[in-house]
Symmetry: C2
Subunit: 337 residues, 2 copies
Amino acid sequence: MSELRRDPITGRWVIISGDRRKEDFRSAGEALEEMDPCPFCPGNEELTPPEIIAYREEGSKPDKPGWWTRVFANKFPVLRIEGDLNRRGIGLFDLMDGIGAHEIIVETPDHTRSLVDLGDHELEKVFWAYRDRILDLRKDPRMKYVLIFKNHGRAAGARVPHAHSQLIALPVIPKAVQEELAGAGDYFRLKERCIFCDINRQELELQERLLLENKNFLAYVPFAARFPFEIWVIPKQHRSCFTGFTKEEMMDLARILRGALVRLSLTLGNPPFNYLLHGSPYLPATDKEAQRVEASYHWHLEIMPRLLRVAGFEWGTGFYINPVSPEKAAVQLRLGV
Amino acid sequence: MSELRRDPITGRWVIISGDRRKEDFRSAGEALEEMDPCPFCPGNEELTPPEIIAYREEGSKPDKPGWWTRVFANKFPVLRIEGDLNRRGIGLFDLMDGIGAHEIIVETPDHTRSLVDLGDHELEKVFWAYRDRILDLRKDPRMKYVLIFKNHGRAAGARVPHAHSQLIALPVIPKAVQEELAGAGDYFRLKERCIFCDINRQELELQERLLLENKNFLAYVPFAARFPFEIWVIPKQHRSCFTGFTKEEMMDLARILRGALVRLSLTLGNPPFNYLLHGSPYLPATDKEAQRVEASYHWHLEIMPRLLRVAGFEWGTGFYINPVSPEKAAVQLRLGV
């Protein structure tokens, strides 16, 4: 059983999963691990835990081929769904059992395609799967936050080559999310406006960091980008949470994300990247808090190309050096060269 | 001229240095770049900016051989010492000119030795150099914080193989440091005690994460370690700032750091690592703030082995997964196997 431990000084939570041997680090290679047979391929469904949801051809059966997007529990989860949190202290220290969910969202049945190769209708299904899992997990009162992220390429932490995203549901709100909520909340108290909406308006007006626009979404390089060629995808309308979508909005999201990833790939030659969905926490402690979060927070997707090794400086400080100006990055990404 | 830009939502500052071409990322290799001749070697002093300080043999001349530890400005600095901050806004956004200092501390004249190979008296000189630079830079009222860090090995961000540390003086206090100060300050208000002193006592009592102890210092694996085999080195006596040392204390620091690095190297086979000096900010805004920081903060050195690729999860959240329990790591490090 893993543990969640709280740093007594900063309040940061860490998952201590605790069963990796040091030999595993020494042998960590540079290439993706091709498994034969690939457990994420159609026909090999018995190699994974049973599916939680899947979008599949009419008439096809669960845990059998015929799916386009398939979600199941991670076979080697860092957190487990069964049990109580069992919050406790050891002197100064706080910890709880490693309760949560850790799921895999396979994005396509085709082993050879990556996210950037998918059509808009295929991408759309991946997003509906994200939404469905968020809606389901919010029913569990132990969970405070659902992280959805993607690692593409070995340097971005991917291990299995078959295209997939991951979901981790947590019994705590991560520190970086708390900071976003606090910053957005402070701004709302001061201005009675959403800071993300204001940034959207300014980026549309200035144009210099804007990458793509459609009816419902914007993609731009953020003003204080931490990483070279970082891109944010964000709804134009104020939406605090990744849940209440129309079909049209979801298609627009698929289109703009594909546009951003294609430009990233053209400009940098299929670079390793991570993306992370920043939705609002979906279980605020009180109704009043829920109202404030709904008014002040604005969901978005952050795409972080992994072109640099992060050095000691960034690690210990949360302070980043970005050697490519966001304006120049936007010009290059727009041209796709 | 680089810029410091502030993220409008979280308040995080980013250095935008802005002159790297995208081709530089594509060609980034896995090996350290051996330069011929090595600009950090004795005899090649004219290849670096003039030395700021050096500890050298009696009678030897500045910018000539005869030194044991040598400090000079980085030839390619991310921040520059000349000029004014020129704080300004663009609509919602805040920025200032990239003013600061970026220095290199060469740790040994011997090209073939790394920090772990140095004797205690050699290591001691490196630490005196850190202290001297901190004392000098605190005279500059534009500077708010001095970061001192080391990257060892390519995977930890090192580029030049000749052993060195780096110093970056900043006109802002990094977010992670602010969080430490805030957490330690909150604890002090509640308990009227330093939280680091309390943790030291508990680690000494429990012993299970303790690695090394001498008269003036402790080394242990922290309870909520973010990284496998992470180690903290911390003074036993309450000391807020990395400045007021006796000769005996400095030798004890050199001994315990060497002990920790030797065990890390024995256990993991010369792993890549970063270390980062967490001193108190040395220019608090008011006397009252200075008193509170002095009472509540406790300097320490954090050693972070770089065994894992950090995945998307950690990036966006400041939330870490550590697959080696701190207690098991301490057992292995104590045995050095």
